[in-house]
Symmetry: C2
Subunit: 187 residues, 2 copies
């Protein structure tokens, strides 16, 4: 148990290239939110993503070729009770929704830790969306140019049921001190 | 911090349908290893998977459309220093290698927890393989038909460098008591 709980881990998890900046607390930058813009309780919502049977088959065939992801008939007798998307497919779709504006954090983020939960499977026809909430922000002690932001992202289906929770500690840059004062730094 | 560390999580992570049973400790079953067959220190090795630029682009375009996954030139100036596969792509490839015989555990596994680590990115041309090791086995107190098995799976490139570590607590069925004694149970 101790080995398991003490194991170090990191998720590198970049949300650069945000295309769909919702105005939520954007603080006037079009490059996403800096550490200084973020606070516990702040929430973000993604667009939606509709998952069909063909997508589930295609992902599973490539990455997770097991009966409950590949064959609706065979899946009925498994613990899934019917065709289910691979959890890694749900994770990949979640990433797409985050990148497409669901988590408008300043570019080039490196997460320092995370957890993934799949309480129930994604099914054919599901319409997924991601709701993210800032859980905690902590300035870095050693690196004044960044902070640690814990974000919980719930992926929900069209009935509001959670199919995945991803909790990640993200390294988010602080707003550059020169921004708005100098166009060139270090000159 | 406490919220983060206390958050419950689960990975449902099925490795049913194992096609490539290496003989390692298989205990005579061709359906994968039961809880009773597994012990700390037991190791499994997968086949290999070669990742090319086209695959990286295709996955990223679909699930993680960010410059360092989509454009080698643009990627040079990012923290990745060049084209890198999405971490979720590395995770998906790892799952494929586990399903294809890299982790020959008895079908229909549900994991009770896990961690994912990407210490370095997967690059075009990388040849990935997965080495898994049983970290701990614990019989379930409440369910005599199963046990908990913690497995660490390191995904390595052709230079032996770890690009991902996935540590999962898997629920593994115990060998059915009737196996080898009765063909019908509950009669």
């Amino acid at each position: 148990m101790s080995d398991y709980h003490n194991a170090s881990y990191i998720i590198i998890f970049a949300v650069q290239g945000v295309r769909n900046m919702a105005g939520t607390g954007a603080g006037g930058t079009n490059r996403g939110l800096y550490f200084d813009d973020l606070g516990a309780g702040q929430r973000f919502a993604s667009e939606t993503y509709t998952v069909d049977e063909g997508q589930i088959f295609a992902f599973a065939k490539q990455f997770d070729p097991q009966p409950f992801h590949l064959d609706g008939e065979a899946a009925r007798t498994t613990l899934f009770g019917g065709l289910a998307a691979s959890g890694w497919h749900t994770a990949a779709i979640t990433m797409r929704l985050l990148v497409d504006g669901g988590l408008p954090v300043a570019g080039g983020i490196v997460g320092a830790g995370g957890e993934i939960v799949w309480p129930m499977p994604t099914r054919p026809g599901d319409v997924l969306r991601v709701e993210s909430e800032v859980v905690e922000t902590k300035p870095s002690r050693s690196r004044p140019d960044r902070g640690m932001v814990t974000v919980r992202s719930d992926t929900r289906n069209q009935r509001g049921e959670i199919v995945q929770t991803l909790t990640a500690k993200l390294v988010v840059p602080r707003r550059p001190v020169t921004e708005g004062s100098h166009l060139r730094d270090g000159s």
